[in-house]
């Protein structure tokens, strides 16, 4: 097992797998971040991803275009966010409850549609799917190490990395970003200066919809080529943990996602190694154990920081 792991690290397969698995966590965590910063923490990321994953693959297969599929998935996710905003911002339903409702809805509704439209219960894998392409960089792909590092990744991997920079610029270099932060922290202050608090919060939820939509589309049309019932398997909740762990800033979230991506990558590699002696159930626990450990470390560090500040 260790041997297999080592060879995969040495030939950079680990990095490739890591990037593949990190992408959905990173994208949905960025979505969670923006909503959290604006004071409307969206815990419905999981449901949004499922909704987008199903919509994008269904539309993508029907139109034979991953572009239209992805746009449809993102649109479905954003529309759901507006519904969520209507309930939580306009009707003042607790945002956590609204988020839970979205999770339950996303899980149930996709299964319902899958059975109604395709008559399937477990998973849907269209034969003629035109998935989100991999980016092969000519010239670089043949260079030994660099080729494997830079070339051949899925387009969405690159989009997720660009999204980190995009979020950083959005939050810290535009007035809109300052408004988002002020609305989340001191809504009364923002309102007293004429910032439309409700509208900013709607927009923050919409951003979380965009990013979880992209994550969902990637899950069904990039990482795999199928939709499986509840295929997100807790990614949305991992993403929320990453938001905290990343200290609520895009760069921190990138590193947080790396840790979780690594945990998932190790899991995948060990699982696919023949002759492993560790029961697979234990291996599958790794990402979740990492979540708990990471959050505990985070809490302890935060407490220590507070104590040193005070003395």
């Amino acid at each position: 097992m260790w041997q297999a792991l080592w060879t995969q690290i040495a030939d950079l397969t680990l990095i490739v797998v890591l990037l593949r698995l990190m992408t959905p966590i990173l994208l949905s965590a960025l979505g969670g971040l923006i909503s959290d910063i604006a004071g409307v923490i969206n815990i419905g990321l999981e449901g949004l991803m499922l909704l987008s994953a199903f919509t994008s693959i269904a539309v993508g297969a029907a139109t034979d275009s991953w572009v239209i599929g992805t746009i449809a998935g993102v649109a479905a996710s954003v529309a759901m966010c507006y519904v969520m905003g209507f309930f939580s911002i306009k009707l003042k339903v607790d945002i956590i409850i609204a988020g839970f409702a979205v999770n339950i809805f996303g899980s149930g509704f996709t299964v319902f549609l899958m059975s109604k439209i395709y008559g399937l219960t477990g998973n849907y894998s269209p034969e003629n799917l035109n998935p989100i392409p991999n980016v092969v960089i000519p010239g670089i792909q043949d260079i030994p190490v660099l080729g494997k590092l830079l070339s051949g990744h899925n387009l969405m991997v690159w989009i997720s990395l660009i999204a980190v920079v995009f979020c950083f610029v959005l939050l810290y270099r535009t007035p809109y970003g300052v408004h988002l932060r002020s609305v989340g922290e001191a809504p009364a202050a923002a309102k007293s200066l004429g910032i439309p608090v409700g509208r900013v919060q709607y927009s923050a939820l919409a951003w979380s919809g965009v990013f979880s939509g992209l994550a969902g589309a990637y899950m069904s049309m990039g990482m795999t080529s199928m939709f499986v019932k509840d295929m997100t398997a807790g990614t949305g909740f991992l993403a929320l943990a990453v938001v905290l762990l990343g200290n609520r800033n895009p760069v921190g979230i990138f590193f947080g996602s790396l840790i979780f991506g690594l945990a998932s990558a190790v899991t995948t590699i060990v699982q696919t190694t023949p002759g492993s002696q560790v029961p697979s159930q234990f291996i599958q626990m790794i990402p979740y154990v990492v979540t708990i450990v990471a959050l505990v470390i985070f809490a302890v560090r935060k407490k220590r920081k507070l104590l040193t500040q005070a003395s």
């Binding site: 809109y176 408004h179 932060r181 202050a189 923002a190 004429g194 500040q309």
Partner: protein, 517 residues
């Protein structure tokens, strides 16, 4: 002198029938400091909301710079050159000072640009700070700067938006005497540059010190507008309350006896786990009032909570008579004739969704006197409540009125009635008169002194230094979780003396009270 703002015969009746303003007139001259005073609920804040377009008046007219105006929201008022510094700071703690100042009006790189122009922003703010002499670090995060500076940020905010008329809503409530002096200097400097200030307060000393004219509002009506030079605090308070008010709490010198409460080297942490009490030692004797003076957030809350069992002490001891309080439950402690008036009557002091009668027996309902078998004895409770409301002057239709519908002063009287009805040997009064009008303050102060004279030990915690000085026999100054000075409250003691210790500038202590053990 030209008239800058004229509000005429403003009426405001809320849909539920409450008349908050019933004919208010306010005329403000350009370049003056105009004090607006009145008891709580007199209609000051409603008037300001109307001026700022947050509420529409039922009738009445507003003229600003000679033209009739009606604002639809704060943005309109801001555009016309008005600015308001709210009593509770309207700042986002994790943003920097400069981000807070420009919030909503950030300079951008070009008219169509999406991006902040941080260089221009910084230049503008540095210039603003220099022009008005309101010193504060533009790059510091707001959560890291002291209260006095936060207030400067608020003032800079309105100046940045080009305000010429600045409304300050009880700006000194959270400041130390030194910070208040600095604020007053800034205000005077602003007026010197042609700004106009409306200063809302209920501290008459400040009215006398800083204002040119003063408008008194009572029960939604303007009672009078006076030139400050031609009036005195007694006259203003008479107009505010409608009767004579005693300013000095009348009390005889204390006759302290044996210690009732002895705190030794008490340590505790705040809600975040950071140290809040760092070795407090203090004795309170029967028949004396010990006041805790300090800037809010220096451990006062934690100290009171530790004594009353609401917060765990990490180390140290609290002896009450001959018992140890550390480790005892709240119910146990309350059963030992310790009365506690909590600092927040809305959340800790009373149950707002219960009736007055229920609130009055919250602490006594286990008492057989109020029970009939396993049930509550409604009749006895009603009688008890009626008597208490009579004694403590709680003004409400009957004892079945919900506590949440009472005014601040009346609700506080309910809390105080409950705590005093058990004849405490130790009374802990935390902010006993916060947000309470002058008439009720007088009453509450008299009750506290009455208990002292009856032999109770009283621990008074108050953010109002004047209150601490008026009631206490000894004053303990708390700074960052330590008692830095214990001063005898002699007539020579001034606010500045105490303020010196409140800011942590000196220490005069090491309780020699170990001897009492």
């Amino acid at each position: 002198m030209t008239i800058l703002l004229e509000m005429k015969d403003i009426h405001k009746v809320y849909p539920n029938g409450t008349a908050a303003n019933r004919g208010v007139d306010l005329t403000v001259y350009e370049g003056e400091i105009h004090a607006l005073v009145g008891e709580n609920g007199a209609g000051k804040s409603t008037l300001m909301k109307i001026l700022f377009g947050l509420e529409a008046p039922t009738s009445g007219t507003i003229e600003y710079k000679g033209k009739p105006v009606s604002f639809k929201g704060p943005k309109d008022a801001i555009e016309q050159g008005m600015g308001m510094v709210h009593q509770h700071f309207m700042l986002a703690p994790s943003l920097s000072v400069s981000e807070n100042i420009v919030l909503g009006e950030e300079p951008k790189k070009g008219p169509l640009s999406m991006f902040r122009d941080r260089a221009t922003e910084r230049r503008g703010i540095v210039k603003l700070i220099e022009t008005y002499g309101l010193k504060v670090d533009p790059d510091a995060r707001v959560e890291t700067i002291p209260v006095g500076q936060k207030q400067r940020v608020e003032i800079l905010k309105v100046l940045y938006r080009g305000a010429r008329l600045i409304i300050l809503d009880e700006p000194t409530a959270v400041l130390t005497p030194q910070e208040t002096d600095e604020l007053f200097a800034s205000i005077k400097a602003l007026v010197g540059q042609g700004y106009t200030i409306i200063f809302i307060t209920h501290k008459l000393r400040e009215v006398m010190e800083i204002s040119n004219r003063v408008t008194v509002i009572k029960a939604g009506k303007t009672i009078a507008t006076l030139n400050t030079k031609e009036t005195n605090p007694e006259q203003i308070s008479r107009l505010m309350v409608g009767r004579e008010v005693l300013f000095r709490v009348e009390k005889q010198p204390a006759e302290p006896k044996e210690p009732v409460l002895s705190i030794r080297d008490l340590h505790s942490v705040d809600d975040k786990g950071a140290p809040a009490l760092r070795g407090i030692s203090l004795d309170i004797r029967a028949g004396e009032v010990v006041g805790i003076a300090g800037v809010e957030g220096n451990g006062q809350t934690e100290l009171v909570e530790a004594i009353t069992g609401l917060r765990r002490a990490t180390s140290g001891s609290i002896r009450y008579l001959d018992k140890e309080l550390v480790g005892k439950s709240v119910a146990n402690i309350r059963a030992m004739k310790i009365g506690h008036v909590p600092e927040d009557r809305q959340t800790t002091g009373a149950s707002l969704t219960s009736t007055i009668a229920e609130n009055l027996i919250l602490d006594h309902y286990r008492n057989p006197e109020f029970k009939r078998g396993p049930f509550l004895n409604k009749k006895k409770i009603k009688q008890f409540a009626k008597v208490m409301m009579e004694i403590f002057d709680v003004r409400a239709q009957n004892e079945e009125v919900l506590a949440g519908s009472l005014s601040g002063g009346n609700l506080q009287k309910v809390v105080i009635a409950r705590e005093l009805s058990k004849n405490p040997k130790l009374l802990i009064a935390s902010q006993p008169t916060r947000g309470v009008d002058i008439g009720a303050i007088e009453f509450i102060h008299r009750e506290i002194i009455k208990r002292r004279d009856g032999g109770a030990a009283v621990l008074l915690v108050s953010a109002e230094l004047s209150e601490v000085m008026a009631l206490s026999d000894r004053i303990a100054v708390i700074y960052e979780g330590e008692i830095v000075a214990v001063l005898d409250n002699t007539p020579e003691l001034t606010e500045e003396n105490i303020g010196y210790y409140m800011l942590g500038l000196g220490k005069k202590h090491r309780e020699k009270e170990g001897a009492a053990q």
